[in-house]
Structures are given as structure tokens and as C-alpha cells.
């Protein structure tokens, strides 16, 4: 159980790739534990936003606070509070690493026996015991995603960011991962990005609508509305049979 503060606060955050502005003086704050869904279409800058939160990228302006500590542009400081599950495409699968070794590698500076036992525990937690000795290159997308989640969890941080964990996963695998994220959020702040709101809508405590900036923050009932979703998805939102559909 993670005790103490679990919060992400962003103040006046501004970031751009040259002329391409991703964030302009954006502020928002979310608290844990619970599952927070960062909802936005492909290409909206969700990954860049995550990289700003964990200090990999430095903003042009503004500050990022994790659990009240200023971690702006400093991955070492950010790493004390938060861990990160990248998109599958960001990971090299050609390296001859087993699932256990990939998770163990996240625990630098620990004794080998401790690394091993904690890595095995993390793999068990995500239901990936059978992947201990399997090479990353021999895993399916869903299996690799579980190993990457175990790798993030083994660091035992109160905040975990998951970048598009459902991409490249079959429908059954997506449901399982959504259930896992929801379960893990019982005692952690899980910030999960997705372009498809359906899987986590009912499981989320808060929804952050994002497209080149934070467009709305609130409970699913407050945010999952036509006008707010249109702010992020444009005309790709339709009401069919009184149900909202996002055609991202």
C-alpha cells in the first residue's frame, strides 16, 4: 500500500517542437489513488506530455510537480515518484533479454538476489509468471505489455504513467489490461493515455481530455460529453442511438 501524497500538478506548462506547439500555459492537478485516463486522439501530444511529466523533456516554460516535489526536466527526481510504461513501439525487441531480465534491469544498485525476488513478484502481480524465461522477441504484444507494466511496478513508485497500453493488443488482451490497470489503481495513481475511451471509462476516477493541451478535467460523468469530446476529437465524435462514439 502506498501511503502519503499521490499527486501530479502542472503549472503553466508550455512546450513546442519548433513551431509545433504541444502545450501552451496549461495547468492541471490530479490526485490519487485511482485510475486517471488521459483521453485524446492520435497525434495529440499525449506521449510528449508524459515525457514532460517524467522529466525526459524540459518545458519551455512552467513547472511539473510530482507528490509536491518540483521534478521539471529531471528524470532522476521524477523517477523517485513515478514509473513509466512506454508504448510497445518504443521498446527494442531484438535484444536477447528474458522477461525476468527486463524487469530486473529496472532495479539498479540492488543485490542480485533482491533484484530477482522483486522482479519475480512483479511478474506474478501482473500475471506474467510464464514469461520469466521467455525472450522479449518471442512474446505477443499483450505479453510484452505485461512485462513492461511489471518493469514499471517493480520500482514501487506511487505514480505510474502508462502510454497507450492498449495499442497493438488484441481485444481480449485489452480488456485484461484495463482490468489490471484498474486493480493496480487501488493503491496507486495510474495515469493512462488512450485514444479509445471505451475500455477505461467506467473504471476511471478522472478523465483528462487532451489535444495539444488539456481541454477538460473531471469525472467521467462531467467530461464525457459531446461538446467536450469535440474539443479534442473535432468532428470525429457522433451520437448514434443516444450513445457517444469516438471515431479517432
Amino acid at each position: 500500500m502506498h501511503k502519503g501524497e499521490q499527486s501530479i500538478t502542472v503549472e503553466n506548462l508550455t512546450f513546442a517542437y519548433g513551431e509545433d506547439v504541444i502545450l501552451s500555459k496549461n495547468s492541471f492537478s490530479v490526485r490519487g489513488p485511482g485510475l486517471i485516463t488521459l483521453l485524446g486522439p492520435n497525434g495529440s501530444g499525449k506521449t510528449t506530455f508524459f515525457k514532460l511529466l517524467i522529466g525526459i523533456l524540459k518545458p519551455l516554460e512552467g513547472r511539473v510537480f510530482l507528490n509536491g516535489e518540483d521534478v521539471t526536466g529531471d528524470p532522476f527526481k521524477a523517477g523517485v515518484h513515478a514509473s513509466y510504461v512506454p508504448q510497445l513501439s518504443a521498446v527494442r525487441r531484438d535484444l536477447p533479454l528474458t522477461g525476468l531480465e527486463a524487469v530486473e534491469a529496472a532495479l539498479q544498485g540492488k543485490e542480485r538476489a533482491e533484484r530477482r525476488s522483486r522482479a519475480l513478484e512483479a511478474l506474478r502481480l501482473v500475471g506474467a509468471e510464464d514469461l520469466v524465461n521467455r525472450k522479449l522477441s518471442a512474446m505477443s504484444g499483450g505479453q510484452l505489455q505485461r512485462v513492461l507494466i511489471a518493469r514499471a511496478l517493480v520500482r514501487d513508485t506511487p505514480i505510474v504513467l502508462m502510454d497507450e497500453p492498449f495499442s497493438g493488443i488484441d481485444p481480449r488482451g485489452r480488456e485484461n489490461l484495463a482490468d489490471l490497470a484498474s486493480e493496480l489503481a487501488n493503491d496507486r495513481l495510474i495515469l493512462l493515455s488512450t485514444h479509445d475511451p471505451v475500455l477505461t471509462l467506467n473504471k476511471s476516477k478522472t478523465i483528462v481530455v487532451f489535444n495539444r493541451g488539456v481541454k477538460a478535467v473531471g469525472s467521467p460523468e462531467d467530461v464525457y460529453k459531446l461538446e467536450l469530446l469535440k474539443a479534442a476529437y473535432g468532428s470525429g465524435v457522433l451520437i448514434i442511438e443516444k450513445c457517444l462514439h469516438v471515431l479517432s
Binding site: 515525457k51 517524467i54 522529466g55 525526459i56 528524470p75 532522476f76 521524477a78 523517477g79 513515478a82 514509473s83 513509466y84 512506454p86 518504443a90 521498446v91 527494442r92 531484438d94 535484444l95 536477447p96 533479454l97 528474458t98 531480465e101 527486463a102 530486473e104 534491469a105 529496472a106 532495479l107 539498479q108 544498485g109 524465461n133 525472450k135 522479449l136 518493469r151 514499471a152 520500482r155
Partner: protein, 264 residues
């Protein structure tokens, strides 16, 4: 057929050192750097010869000393956002031009006590006991350091952003790996030679990547492949009367083809 223990020591020692570094090169995608390293090693050896002749000291020590800034500049350029291709092109252009200029200067101004041909083609058969002891020491240190670094380097190779968040100083490791590679490549240039050195650095891990089922196996198979090729190359070279480094290169190539056909 006679195999001098000094020949065996320098061949096995250098192969073990290259075989231990090769998985790190593969994991970190440092192949561009390893492939260009013999150029700077040759320039450094030539500069080391000039420095030791004019200022005193051991030429190998001078060569290592002058080689380190070259590699640091290359890594610095990449950190500054210059693409690997461009940075390597500049690096090779400078070191190749420099090598030709300095070698020409050495050949025309100094009575060469050591044949530059041995640095170009490699000649373990000229090894003295001092060379053999030095090679064994370099191999021991390289294996010790690379085994300690393996999992960290694999972690950075797997996903450098996660590695940074989990507390690994990625930029420091870039410099560390570049300097380790440089020191070993310059020290052992005379054994394998300028022409074959990058093969000795790159192919052992290419073979091991085909066969290994884990990081640990990857490391061990790379060293064993390299050592097996070096001993086999030495025996064949004595038997067939050809250059040992050439046979080392051919055997590594053969092992790679076999690993491609049989590996998973």
C-alpha cells in the same frame, strides 16, 4: 606445428576483450562507433609513436591518452543533436586524413622501430612477453567491467527513457562505453590490425544474438565465439601460412553464417 604461448595469450586475450565488449556495442547500437574506431586507433598509434619519440614515455600509453578526446568529441556531437551518420562521417574524415598525414610524417622523419604494417594488418606473432602480459591484463579488466555493466547497458538499449527514469545516467554511460571501447581498440590494434578490428568488435555479438536465449547467454556466447575464432584462426594461420587476423575474420564470418542458418 609450434604455437608460441605468447601468440596464444595475445590472441585469446584480445579475443576475450573484444568478445566481452561486443554485446555492449550491440545493445547500445554503437556499431557506427565501433566501425569507425580503428581509424582513430590508427591515428592515435601514429601520434603516440611521435609523442613517445619526442617526449619520452611508452608509445601505447601515449596512444591511449591521445585517442580518448577524439571519441569524447564524437559522443559530444551526438549529444548535441548531430545525427550519428553525420558525426561518424566527420569523425572518420578527420581521423583518416590525420592518420595518413601522421603516418607519412613518421615514415619520412623517424627510423621506425616498430613496423606500421603490424598495426594495419595485425601481427600477434611479433608479441613479446610484455605484450602478452599487457593483453591478459586488458582482457581481465575488460571482462570485469563489461560483466558489471551488461544489464545496465542492456536496459539503456531496451528503452533509454525508462532507463533514465529508473536512475541510470544515460549520457555518462555513453561516454563510459565510448572510452572503454577506445582504450581497448587502441591497446589491441597491433594484435588484430586496423583492417580486421571492427570485425572482431562487431561479429561476436551478431553470432551470439542469433543463438542466445538470455542476456547472460548473449555475453558468454559472444566471448566464447570470439575466443574460438581466435584460437582456430591462429592454428589455421600457422598451418596455412597466412595472416592470423585474416583467419580470425574468416572464422567469425563463418560462425555468423552458421548461426544464421541454425539460430532461432
Amino acid at each position: 606445428m609450434y604455437l608460441d604461448p605468447r601468440w596464444v595469450t595475445v590472441m585469446v586475450g584480445s579475443a576475450a576483450a573484444f568478445g566481452a565488449l561486443s554485446p555492449l556495442i550491440h545493445a547500445r547500437r554503437f556499431s557506427f562507433f565501433a566501425a569507425s574506431l580503428p581509424h582513430s586507433a590508427l591515428l592515435s598509434v601514429a601520434l603516440g609513436y611521435v609523442a613517445s619519440s619526442t617526449l619520452g614515455g611508452h608509445p601505447a600509453a601515449w596512444a591511449i591518452l591521445v585517442s580518448l578526446p577524439f571519441s569524447s568529441i564524437l559522443v559530444h556531437l551526438i549529444h548535441r543533436g548531430v545525427s550519428e551518420d553525420n558525426a561518424t562521417s566527420v569523425f572518420v574524415a578527420f581521423t583518416v586524413s590525420g592518420s595518413v598525414a601522421v603516418i607519412h610524417y613518421v615514415l619520412t622523419n623517424y627510423p621506425a622501430r616498430v613496423s606500421l604494417w603490424s598495426y594495419i594488418l595485425g601481427d600477434p606473432l611479433l608479441a613479446s612477453w610484455e605484450d602478452a602480459i599487457l593483453t591478459a591484463a586488458i582482457a581481465s579488466v575488460t571482462i570485469f567491467l563489461s560483466s558489471k555493466l551488461l544489464l545496465k547497458e542492456m536496459s539503456i538499449g531496451l528503452d533509454s527513457e525508462f532507463a533514465a527514469v529508473s536512475g541510470i545516467k544515460v549520457k555518462f554511460h555513453n561516454y563510459l562505453l565510448a572510452l572503454m571501447l577506445t582504450a581497448v581498440a587502441v591497446s589491441l590494434l597491433r594484435v588484430v590490425g586496423f583492417v580486421v578490428e571492427h570485425v572482431a568488435l562487431l561479429l561476436p555479438s551478431a553470432v551470439a544474438a542469433q543463438l542466445a536465449r538470455s542476456a547472460r547467454e548473449f555475453y558468454i556466447v559472444s566471448i566464447l565465439t570470439s575466443v574460438l575464432a581466435s584460437v582456430g584462426g591462429l592454428v589455421l594461420s600457422v598451418y596455412l601460412n597466412v595472416a592470423p587476423s585474416a583467419m580470425l575474420g574468416f572464422l567469425l564470418l563463418l560462425f555468423y553464417v552458421v548461426s544464421l542458418l541454425t539460430g532461432g
